[in-house]
Symmetry: C2
Subunit: 327 residues, 2 copies
């Protein structure tokens, strides 16, 4: 690709700002602007915002329509639920703008919103837009990586992924999200009601099942607080022994023939020996360990930026990561 | 895909026979025949050859032209050098037959044979055929896997892959290939002259460099015997202390800006702690270990069989694995 792709960033939280920085440095990209709905951010100079002189004169807009130049791709880091992202995505797709999004549910949007997914896909095919959800989890460790590994295994009977994240090394919103400092009973209620927890775990499972052409019988999810066994202090939180210091989430599915996918995610403050493990039962069996685990925030930005040019090679539509060429 | 793909196997060595078995069991495939140039194998009943009653009546042909039904895909497990495979591949492509091949150099055919690669690609585009080279090494551990991992890393500065194979658990031809039992000086001469050694290591490196869009300055290869430190006996070979029990091959390349790819392969009888290691220097850094390593023979068959339907989704041409959708 010799031409520069015109890109814009939508959503200027911590991930969005990092993504914008990465785009400003990418030799194949030309940043044409950034968008955030927060009035406090609107009008800010991008050069000041991320310390990149090259972006001087570009200011944060309140909506993509206000961008002076229309981007070919928008990097969308705004919400976790596909339902909540839908209006924004539809407006972009309608204008034929391609979208790479960190929206967790967009990794497999038809799991929870089959109608919206179908509608967005149809719109994209009409306007020529491409939309895809990506990230590190969901989007890599617990879905794309096991699917890639499955490429050299026959007769797969089970896929098991275990991810242990030491949340004390992560950004403030993530430490908050995992319930740090909350009474366990209270956080359990939030988890049960779906108002807390890690989004996208079931989507990872659905993406694996789809890639393997498995019809899963039932997806069972569980989510529980991890309780601090000692007092923990991070840059952002102080957690007393007995309070919540993180979460343990699992999702399991089986097929009619007894094949099984199990995804197990532990994210808590002070987790020892953080790592990602992928085990595949099949011929041959595989047993992979990622020492230290794939660091979430940086890897998410990398996933967003690296997915863009792969997406441009795909036909228009609402794509899955496993539909895209690898490089 | 609801329709059966008509498939045939070309080359009935150990890998070819296993591949034929796997195809006979694949729900999406209909085996229409098998080909081997060895007159001793021609005419053999496939059902007897691999113990699969369903193939009764199909006999080994001396050439693809003799197959009673034309296959949509041929699984080609015949030679390691692209140059040696070329005539066979050209004849298939001319008839519009798609090919998934274990030919090692076909993983990145333009490295050694840019003209032949271009010619085959042009022919494929004309006839609608798709051709791809795949396998476990080359084709996965030392190329596709690091490329996949690179998807969540920014600013990659180095990729290092180390593969240690205990060859005593592998098939006879592989134990022979690594020089088992030869005087080290003699095997070193064979390695130096290119008449021995593992094919495809530089191709793996070239595929990584291509996927990262890196222009490598120089590719440096080395290959040396591993000398037995004790007497070793396998099912096929007896190696006395001081004789060759395997090989150690490396390939390194750097870019003008100092980025680096290093692939290090040790295959020897009795190798302790066999494993595959992938390390990526970048943001974030990654450090992956595949315990036990990806078992070569079974994984190669899996790679061949699993690549077929991915290939069918690609446009006609001579494809690279990284061009194909992942699933």
């Amino acid at each position: 690709m010799n031409e520069h792709l015109k890109v814009a960033q939508m959503g200027l939280g911590p991930i969005g700002l990092e993504c914008l920085k990465a785009l400003a440095e990418a030799p194949w990209a030309q940043v044409v602007g950034a968008v955030d709905i927060d009035p406090a951010k609107c009008g800010a100079d991008l050069a000041v915002l991320i310390g990149q002189k090259a972006l001087r004169g570009l200011r944060v807009c309140a909506s993509p329509e206000e961008l002076k130049q229309s981007p070919e791709i928008i990097f969308h880091t705004a919400v976790s639920r596909f339902k909540d992202a839908y209006e924004q995505l539809e407006a972009l797709a309608r204008r034929g703008i391609n979208v790479v999004s960190s929206c967790e549910e967009l990794v497999f949007p038809s799991l929870r919103q089959p109608r919206l997914a179908q509608r967005l896909d149809a719109l994209c095919r009409k306007t020529g837009a491409r939309v895809v959800g990506t990230g590190v989890n969901p989007g890599f460790v617990m879905d794309v990586l096991p699917v890639c590994l499955g490429g050299v295994v026959r007769d797969i009977r089970a896929i098991q992924v275990e991810r242990i994240v030491d949340a004390s090394t992560r950004r403030e919103p993530l430490q908050r999200k995992i319930g740090s400092g909350q009474p366990p009973a209270q956080f359990r209620r939030l988890l049960r009601s779906g108002r807390a927890g890690h989004a996208g775990l079931a989507e990872s499972l659905a993406l694996i099942a789809h890639a393997l052409n498995w019809k899963t019988v039932r997806i069972v999810e569980s989510a529980n607080p991890v309780v601090a066994k000692r007092n923990i202090r991070t840059r952002y939180f102080s957690v007393i022994k007995g309070q919540t210091c993180g979460l343990h989430q699992r999702v399991v599915a089986t097929t009619a023939t007894g094949c099984r996918i199990l995804l197990d995610l532990k994210m808590y403050l002070g987790a020892e020996n953080p790592r990602d493990i992928v085990r595949i039962k099949g011929n041959p069996p595989l047993d992979l360990v990622m020492q230290g685990g794939v660091a979430g925030d940086q890897a998410t930005v990398a996933a967003l930026v690296n997915t863009a040019r792969r997406l441009m090679k795909a036909p228009p539509g609402l794509a899955l990561l496993t539909d895209l060429p690898m490089a």
